[in-house]
Amino acid sequence: MTWALILSFGAVAYALKLLGAVVIGQRSVPAALQRCLLLIPAALLAALITKDTFTSGQEIVLDARIVGLVVAGVLSWRKAPFAVIVFAGVGATALLRAFA
């Protein structure tokens, strides 16, 4: 982790917020562009989930993390509180590692 990465991204993240809230203000943005931008989290978060569950570096690895993902998926779908999802998902992985 480098300060250059943290500070440069901090500046960009704030600039993006300013762009929407202060610069663009009430001007309108094409509906299709707006729909596309709002889809980015769905695509990227799903990509991060499978990357962090099924890969290690550039290798595909299947291990106890899958159990944590399944537990988190079920609890998220049932609208469990955030803390419950995190502790149950991480706990399930740790338990499986301890006994497997």
Binding site: G10, L16, C36, A43, A46, K51, I60, V90
Partner: protein, 233 residues
């Protein structure tokens, strides 16, 4: 500060405290994982203070922890942070005060404050909700980060199954984005593409390719609702 004396302020404070508890837990998880990925306690805290958008912060830590380059970590985080610019369009009725208040308020335009504000009717109520909830959530996120970073500094994260904390938290964060048909399509594309490309591209780059899933937004949604998430800024 007069917004804290508005008639509906108590209701907003209690709603914010509920989300605030989730923010403390998520902030702590972020702090632990950031330190585990090689950040110092100061670096983790500066990230939460100045970046304050959880999905991007987590994605940076996730890519760095997996051995990705700073450039690819930066790219994925920028794409994730782009939605805050879109949220700003919905927040303009709230941010119409002095330049100073707009510069401060802009930093607090995130998933949760946008969801809370868009759920209210009337500009005055929207303002109360924003200026009451945002500082509570900001404080919760940063206190959680500090606590997590201090804990992370004194334990070995790998012994607690904390590598599983990344997919677990991203799962909790993605579910609200799956309510629409295009959201589910984009997520399916991202999930498959990310693993399929992993063996062939440097760590961090497949995530950037996955952003192409946003193109599903070119086709209109049959029905659409407001985007909101639970527990992460």
């Amino acid at each position: 500060m007069h917004y804290f004396r508005a008639p509906e302020a108590r209701r907003v404070v209690s709603a914010s405290l509920v989300i605030g508890v989730a923010f403390v837990v998520f902030g702590m998880s972020f702090g632990v994982l950031a330190v585990g990925a090689g950040a110092s306690v100061a670096q983790a805290c500066v990230m939460s203070l100045f970046i304050f958008t959880g999905a991007s912060q987590m994605s940076i830590v996730s890519v760095i922890a997996a051995g990705g380059s700073p450039a690819s970590a930066f790219g994925g985080a920028v794409l994730l942070a782009g939605r805050n610019a879109v949220y700003g369009l919905a927040m303009s009725p709230v941010l119409d005060g002095s330049l100073g208040s707009r510069l401060l308020g802009a930093q607090w335009v995130i998933d949760e404050t946008t969801a809370l504000v868009t759920a209210e009717d009337g500009d005055e109520r929207k303002k109360t909700v924003f200026w009451v909830s945002a500082p509570i959530l900001y404080a919760a996120w940063n206190l959680g980060t500090l606590g997590g970073a201090l804990i992370g500094n004194s334990i070995d994260p790998t012994t607690f199954g904390l590598d599983a904390a990344f997919p677990v938290m991203f799962t909790a964060m993605v579910v609200p984005h799956l309510r629409t048909r295009n959201g589910r399509r984009a997520a399916a594309f991202g999930a498959v593409t990310s693993v399929a490309l992993a063996p062939f591209l440097p760590v961090g780059l497949p995530i950037l390719v996955c952003a192409l899933g946003m193109l599903f937004g070119l086709s209109p949604e049959p029905e659409s609702g407001p985007v909101r998430t639970d527990g992460a800024p």
